[in-house]
Symmetry: C2
Subunit: 291 residues, 2 copies
């Protein structure tokens, strides 16, 4: 494949996810931290008004605005729609088109350091294997983005880094530093690939593929009727079996899981209450990277 010449590092796509936003601000102030000899790096604070307001977004979720239909929809006039078009202009077209996008997110779920892939290109899978070999705590989550609504879908190559648990609107210094180290490792991978340097990369990869979303139990009026059960809370990437407790009703009743073995993630993500997602079910897969 051709070398990666232009890398975009994006933070603050969600304005209240401060880890990525402040990493972007740091890299913008000290660009030498993310420059490497074989490619150029662009740093972007993607949703500056939402960041200033410490909100996820002003009018709609920017990270759901990047489908080709939406980018061309003359009736899509929200601040985030306009911002998406501006970002697409900058990173998705013309001479400065990004070859690789790294989008920095955080979650209130206990997902540790997660690499989110939205396609199975071998270049991305090998990068994921490299990162999980280097940082054993790294998990690989595969979230097919068939409508290409995510910011990082602008480029075939790239990933999101999702770190947690961290509350919205605050900085956890330990997670900040771990995320920063992971960014540098991504850049090291790109530099080595560009320069033809052999990296030690395992030929197998464990990947968690999103297969279903589970909503909270609701009242007839559509309000929450239950919470994530304490026995499920914080157990992201742990096996979930039929009969396990998943919800605790406000009336004290326990609701149990019924279904095939799964590995839930995004358990109790604050931003997903409004999306009707209490957690995402994944299947654990072993991927061979042998040629």
């Amino acid at each position: 494949m051709p070398p990666i010449r232009r890398v975009a590092i994006v933070g603050g796509t969600h304005g209240n996810e401060l880890t990525g936003a402040y990493l972007a601000k740091k890299f913008a102030a000290l660009p030498q931290l993310v420059q490497r000899s074989s490619f150029e790096s662009t740093v972007l604070l993607a949703n500056p008004l939402a960041f200033a307001a410490r909100q996820r977004y002003l009018e709609r979720d920017l990270n759901r605005c990047f489908s080709p239909e939406n980018l061309q929809d003359a009736a899509a006039l929200s601040y985030e729609d306009n911002q998406a078009r501006a970002i697409y202009q900058q990173l998705g077209s013309g001479a400065a088109k990004a070859d690789f996008i790294l989008d920095l997110h955080s979650t209130t779920a206990n997902m540790g350091l997660t690499i989110i892939l939205t396609n199975r290109h071998p270049f991305n899978l090998r990068m994921a294997a490299y990162l999980s070999g280097l940082h054993p705590a790294v998990k690989i989550y595969f979230w097919m983005d068939s409508q290409t609504t995510f910011l990082r879908s602008i480029s075939k190559f790239g990933c999101a880094i999702e770190v947690g648990p961290v509350a919205q609107g605050l900085l956890d210094a330990a997670l900040f530093e771990q995320t920063q180290a992971l960014v540098y490792s991504v850049l090291d991978y790109l530099e080595a690939q560009n320069r033809g340097v052999d990296l030690k990369i395992a030929d197998r990869l464990t990947l968690y593929e999103c297969t279903a979303m589970v909503d909270y139990p609701k009242t007839e009026q559509g309000d929450l009727a239950a919470m994530i059960h304490p026995q499920l809370q914080s157990r992201d990437y742990q096996p979930l079996q039929s009969g396990d407790a998943i919800f605790l009703g406000f009336d004290g009743t326990t609701i149990h899981y019924s279904g095939e073995l799964a590995y839930p993630v995004f358990i109790n993500e604050a931003a997903y209450y409004e999306k009707g997602i209490a957690f995402c079910l994944t299947q654990q897969q072993q991927i061979s990277l042998a040629d």
Copy 2:
């Protein structure tokens, strides 16, 4: 002292603190849970529009609107100013005036179950001693509210319950249930006091009195220059001594504490970034309740 006849249980004073908001909704739907024979209970969701928006407030912090000056200020026209006047009408004056206010809050800081007192009336101190005897994890925080800006300052008797760590905009079922149990214990105390029932109450109380606020290091432009240091993160109510690390700069430098022995609380509270509070220093005090 005269009996407590009217109790107000308030949640959602901050719209993104869901523990108290959903407890208030539960108690409003099932009022028998908070009724006792010797007093009436009123349940209030204090900031319904902020709760609907899952924001702390719409225009200004409702829990800083209750000073007499502000309540009488004809130029104070924000949604929260109007809401404060309406709440004062309901709970602070006339025949339905609340004798006791219990205001339910949550924090992103690791404060466990905290009772916040804003005055040292023996009735409140004895209640705090009763609660900490019943629930050994309970801590008592004294935050003098000399301007009486807090909602609960409407009444001389009462307290806030502050639970954490919990992110804004989500429910932690374990903390929800612990907070609920603590509410019932408060009601039990009031009922026993009204009925002249002797309660087992220790004659000593450990109290943490707020003595100073510490802001984040800032850049010349007023932006954050540092984060809570990992060695301070989550160590609410632990002793802080001169030389201990308190901040980690984005450039990797560590900033150390200089001052007398203190016990910090509200460490890394998300809502306090905009208030210029990284943590609050307290002094630990032993209070005698002997007559």
